[in-house]
Symmetry: C2
Subunit: 248 residues, 2 copies
DNA sequence: CGCGCTGTTGAAACTTGTCAAAGTTTGTGG
DNA sequence: CCACAAACTTTGACAAGTTTCAACAGCGCG
């Protein structure tokens, strides 16, 4: 981590120009914005927000002020039921936008919590709406982001509704692998930021089952597990697991 | 059903003014549109589309042209996995909008099929985007509709991820009941438009389990089941089921 | 009026959850 | 920097819920 030694003014300037210089802006922003448009986007996206591991980005019930784009780090969202039951609805990494559920009632419907120290760009929603009315490509992009979330959720529903434990975990690992890969990280070796319990909650399994299936995968030579460090040894066979009847 | 005897021109006029006279426009449209704005909406919403039971409204992979608002009838959406497994992702009734998943890739990602003869308003998406850029309240409303779908999906994830069969079915019945009630129909007596298998697919259960739980509910005096006709006899106890550990 | 789709019910099998115990890692305070 | 506590992970044995397989009943459409 480079230490921040710059003067305050310089820091601010650096942060303000975030979007135009941000290396992952193709994930948040549409291609082909001209300089004027990019300038306006930069003005809307507020200062970065830093969260430490365990911090809440927002809680269910809180008023919607801003959406957040993950710049670095890793977070989870979870809905909490009246009786205290908790369901992790998603894990978020760099380039992804969180808070979309809050638009419906102008209140957040889930908690979003940092699983490691993270940096986020805060996007005041009211100003984003204004801007999307004026920049068609930005509007289109925003609609795509919302729709993508719906598609992702349908995928999770398929997983929860009709896959067995092994398939769920295989799907989960493949999905993580792809997301890391598309961000320039290794596709076959990565670090899990979440506990077995959080994985289990997301996949509709208990932590014990998650642990057991990891062990079984390891015994079968599909992956190598060292605590939270995962090394995928046989992607093809892992993929092959998905869509297979109970005992192949 | 009133028979259509009017001339073609008159019919068209009647259909064109659909939105401004539609009895459920508060479900599709924001409150407080002025006459000019309403006029513009009317022009964007194309002719109604009628589908018969079993018809596909669209199929996964088809290009996105329009979103559809359900005017009458009942439909289901389902994602189909490579291996042929099918997951019902939602049931749609009057006042609801379908097709939102397609915005992401400009292609539909699920099949949407009429479970009974239905009427839909076709909303060309490109023109809707234009209009939402010009009418802020319409834009806001559209964002809300997308966000509401995300919230709904998270609810289903909670259901699939952490509820037992009885809770799932109770939740399902309560949800249907509320949706019928908010549309002016009976909250405690209604007709299921879908098979046990479709309910099972939506809830991540087999059709046998759905059937068994219905029978158990009936034995316990919670509901009365006559094939697809449901009569809720004890809403309170049905609600109480949700959030209860295995054997209360 | 009968064939097929849909729904019900039973018994057995299987997957996953629950409970319990022990091992391991991580974080914190002395 | 070490030590201890807390949190996390693994593994086993057993219980429970759900699925699977199978047979039969019923309704509805042609």
């Amino acid at each position: 981590m480079p230490r921040r030694t710059s003067l305050r003014g310089i820091d601010l300037a650096q942060i303000r120009t975030a979007c135009s210089t941000c290396s992952l802006h193709e994930l948040c922003l549409p291609a082909g914005l001209d300089a004027t448009e990019m300038e306006r986007v930069d003005q809307v996206v507020k200062l970065r927000r830093r969260t430490k591991r365990g911090d809440y980005l927002y809680r269910a019930g809180a008023e919607l002020d801003s959406l957040f784009a993950v710049r670095s780090g890793f977070l989870k969202s979870c809905v909490v039921y009246e009786d205290g039951r908790e369901q992790v609805t998603g894990f978020h990494m760099m380039g992804e936008v969180v808070g979309l559920d809050a638009i419906s009632q102008e209140r957040h419907t889930c908690d979003t919590i940092a699983l490691e120290d993270s940096e986020l760009c805060e996007i005041p929603f009211a100003r984003l709406e204004e801007l999307t009315r004026e920049i068609a490509s930005l509007q289109r992009h925003f609609h795509r982001i919302m729709s993508r979330e719906i598609v992702r959720d349908h995928g999770v529903m398929l997983l929860l509704g009709s896959m067995r434990a092994e398939e769920r975990l295989a799907t989960f690992l493949i999905n993580l692998s792809q997301r890391f890969a598309s961000r320039g990280y290794s596709a076959h070796e990565f670090h899990l930021r979440m506990t077995r319990e959080e994985i289990g909650s997301y996949l509709g399994l208990t932590l014990e089952t998650v642990s057991r299936v990891f062990s079984r995968f390891q015994d079968d030579g599909l992956i190598e597990v060292n605590n939270r460090h995962i090394r995928i040894q046989d992607v093809a066979r892992l993929r092959g697991l998905v869509g297979q009847p109970p005992h192949e």
